[in-house]
């Protein structure tokens, strides 16, 4: 039992249930029920998928600030390609490939160039945002989504659209990679004690580059789904998404010092933020109250986590 309580995701799960019950009591008519639940899940998808990559990066002891820009870039790339007549499959594949490559570059600069990831990704945040704007000619790109929109709008009422299932599938995959592969083990080892990992023969640089590339690819998937939601390529979209992703990881028990964090916790953290936002809207609280509440939750979650683990 004590062992179970020490699990990283127990805290955020408790918080999620508590917040859900609270809003259900405050706005029983609109907040409860399958339809709203499906809506909240749908709204969490983009943050959730980008947080998956962020979980790996933070477990490694790194950070990736370029995620919001990367999502915008992917949406623009996909829109541009669709507009110019490339097939759906090709557009999606190239959109994901672009961010996988930029992620890999982030990793290479961190691992081989020995520049701190905060600086590297602060730079690429600006570079990718600029690239998205340039590629889009500084405006939104309308493109026929050719069915891509169904990823997020498909399913009616309480039924879940394909994007939600995709997010769940990716989360399951990420958890499996983290727990059952040598790669996942090495990620945690590097975040826990990089020097020891190196001493034990872990290929530290290769793992770091792979993690940032993986994070980039997942961000690309998030970008595709963002395009499905908006059905336009928007270069000014998703500003600050990286901070939401970091918040999700941290609420889910992740430590910015590395070595600590879980996929389940991160997913619950991402969902918790959506529930707070939606709940506040249903209760009639203005946007600024939601932001203050979310801020408190982040700090309180980490503080409670510290106490719990003592």
């Amino acid at each position: 039992m004590r062992e179970l309580l020490r699990r990283a995701w127990v805290g955020p799960l408790g918080a999620l249930v508590a917040v859900y019950l609270l809003f259900s009591a405050l706005a029983p008519a609109t907040f409860t029920g399958g339809v709203n639940l499906a809506t909240m899940l749908r709204q969490t998808v983009v943050v959730a998928i980008s947080s998956l990559g962020m979980t790996f990066v933070i477990l490694l002891g790194g950070i990736d600030l370029s995620i919001g820009s990367a999502v915008a870039l992917t949406s623009v790339v996909v829109a541009r390609l669709l507009q110019s007549g490339v097939g759906v499959g090709g557009a999606v594949a190239l959109g994901v490939l672009v961010t996988a490559v930029t992620g890999w570059l982030n990793g290479a600069l961190t691992a081989r160039g020995k520049i701190t990831p905060f600086i590297v990704t602060l730079g690429s945040m600006s570079v990718l945002r600029g690239a998205a704007k340039g590629l889009a000619g500084e405006q939104k790109i309308d493109a026929d989504p050719r069915g891509l929109d169904l990823l997020m709008t498909g399913g009616s009422g309480a039924a879940l659209p394909a994007g939600v299932w995709l997010a769940l599938l990716l989360a399951a995959g990420a958890a499996i990679v983290l727990h059952f592969t040598v790669f996942g083990r090495h990620v945690v080892a590097i975040g826990s004690n990089e020097r020891t990992a190196r001493l034990c023969g872990v290929p530290v640089e290769r793992v770091i580059m792979a993690v940032y590339a993986l994070g980039g690819a997942l961000t690309g998937v998030a970008g595709v789904l963002e395009f499905s939601t908006l059905t336009v390529g928007d270069p000014t979209d998703s500003i600050g998404l990286e901070l939401e992703a970091i918040a999700a990881v941290v609420i889910g028990g992740g430590s910015l010092a590395g070595g600590q964090g879980s996929i389940a916790g991160t997913m619950l953290g991402a969902l918790l933020m959506t529930v707070i936002k939606t709940g506040c809207t249903h209760v009639g609280l203005p946007n600024w109250v939601q932001e203050i509440l979310t801020g408190f939750i982040i700090v309180v979650a980490v503080g409670v986590d510290r106490l719990r683990r003592r």
Partner: protein, 501 residues
């Protein structure tokens, strides 16, 4: 080469290993033979070259000259990993484990049993269990326990098992393995070592503690100033002979100094820290230098930290002049007590900041003009102390990190002088600095003493204490002995007490 007693071929043979760092020759033609299935003790004072030799064996450093042969095959590891792959593993004093991983995960780290990248948990557990099994019944560790939650002793066992889990581990180097262990854990470790020896493992055991070496080691080698000065079978030697080998033949007795101590500045009664020290009492007077002799891990640094308020005091009384009770470092400074840390680079100084900033950090009050810090006054203050202590720096604006170790240490001392403290707590004030700076710092301590300050010096160079102090107290395993006048004490006698012989 010494004649070998046993008939079997040596596990490891080192011949004429030489290593210099800059102009200092740290190892000078060291030869060593280690037999299979035995514990070989390596002794020597700080700076004798033990750690350099260990680093060479573990592949961290490469020798300038000389050769190593492991089980008849030339051995020149390109790095720690290469050394491991040849079956040589080192367990450092500071443990290197991943605190977030479990015992089993740490043991197989870097060579996880796998199938196409997928972890094979059963195989990993089996291997970890086997490695722990090699330690004998003494290691009752849960494979799923998180390493960060284990005690220091348990973590050490994990690290030893990790070394053993590597196929064909044949030489295990233990660097001061008991320094962070309690009594029962030391016994457990000894049982483990005996088990490993029975299985043919060679263990190189580095320690200062003569009683430990008597218990575990078969043979010994003593290093002094980078040379082998004695070797043989432990049972054929006496503690007296070992101490003489470590400290040298010349016995310099301390001489009484012509100082008359004044009133008591600092007094400790039964001070006990969180882990260390266990019991420390002393009185430090105006105008005297009091030395604390102790080996690494004896609790000497912890004592100074407790007095200065950096570590919590569990029981006992610390009295500074008339004021009794615990205090924070800021309060201690206000009471006129200052500390120079043994770790210049990480604690003692902010290496990225200028000499002036470092020097004035604890007392910025006099540098204010109309409420704002004045750069002019700061530089003036720095220039004064640079001149006064003969700090070799361009000016007060130079970064401390650019100075030599000796000059950095003078900056750390100058901070206490700028603060005008009465009690100076100096932790290894001459560690890693050149001879000239050392002499200058000794001279400065003498002057401060004459000016009515009280100086408490911790050092592992016992000759330094004999030369510098009025009285010396020996710390052994957390307990501070009585302070005695230096007349009649010698490096030998202090070393003997500190090593528990």
């Amino acid at each position: 080469m010494a004649e070998r007693l046993s008939g079997s071929a040596p596990r490891l043979a080192a011949r004429d290993v030489t290593k210099s760092f800059g102009a200092t020759r740290v190892l000078d033609g060291v030869s060593l033979e280690l037999d299979p299935g035995s514990v070989h003790a390596m002794l020597g004072e700080n700076g004798a070259g033990k750690s350099t030799l260990m680093k060479i064996l573990a592949g961290v450093e490469r020798p300038d000259a000389g050769s190593l042969v492991l089980d008849g095959v030339p051995y020149a590891p390109s790095g720690p990993l290469a050394a491991r792959n040849r079956g040589v593993a080192i367990v450092h004093q500071e443990l290197s484990l991943c605190p977030h991983l479990t015992v089993a995960e740490n043991i197989v780290l870097g060579s996880e049993p796998q199938r196409f990248g997928w972890l094979s948990r059963a195989a990993a557990r089996e291997r970890a269990e086997r490695a722990l099994g090699l330690l004998g019944g003494s290691a009752a560790l849960r494979l799923d326990a998180r390493v960060g939650a284990l005690s220091a002793a348990e973590q050490q066992l994990v690290e030893i098992s990790r070394a053993l889990a590597h196929d064909g581990c044949r030489l295990l180097i233990l660097d001061e393995p008991t320094s962070s262990l309690g009594h029962a854990d030391v016994e457990r470790l000894f049982t483990t070592l005996a088990t490993l020896c029975e299985r043919g493992m060679t263990i190189l055991y580095v320690s200062h503690f003569l009683d430990e070496i008597r218990r575990v080691a078969d043979r010994y080698t003593v290093l002094r100033d980078g040379r082998v000065v004695a070797r043989g079978a432990v049972r054929d030697t006496t503690n007296e002979e070992l101490v003489t080998a470590m400290a040298g033949e010349v016995v310099e007795l301390g001489t009484a100094r012509a100082r008359t101590p004044g009133d008591v500045l600092l007094s400790l009664r039964g001070v006990r820290g969180v882990r260390l020290p266990n019991d420390a009492s002393l009185e430090l007077c105006r105008g005297e230098v009091l030395g604390i002799a102790g080996l690494m891990g004896s609790g000497r640094t912890e004592l100074l930290r407790a007095v200065f308020g950096l570590d919590r005091v569990r029981s006992g009384v610390i009295r500074v002049r008339a004021v009794a009770g615990p205090a924070s470092p800021g309060e201690r400074l206000a009471q006129g007590v200052g500390l120079v840390s043994e770790d210049r680079a990480r604690e003692g100084l902010a290496l990225g900041l200028s000499v002036a900033r470092n020097l004035t950090l604890s007392r910025l009050g006099p540098l204010r003009r109309r409420g704002f810090l004045s750069g002019r006054l700061e530089q003036d203050a720095a220039a004064r102390w640079i001149r006064r202590l003969g700090i070799r720096a361009r000016d007060g604006a130079q970064r401390v990190g650019e100075l030599s170790g000796g000059n950095q240490q003078k900056v750390a001392l100058a901070r206490l002088l700028h603060h005008d403290v009465d009690v100076l707590l100096l932790d290894e004030p001459t560690r890693g600095i050149d001879v000239r700076s050392r002499a200058e710092i000794h001279e400065l301590i003498g002057e401060l003493c004459a000016a009515g300050k009280g100086v408490l010096v911790v050092s592992s160079h016992f000759d330094e204490l004999v030369a510098l102090c009025d009285r010396v107290a020996v710390m052994h395993k957390g307990v501070l002995g009585p302070a005695r006048p230096v007349a009649g004490l010698s490096e030998h006698s202090l070393l003997r007490e500190a090593a528990g012989a």
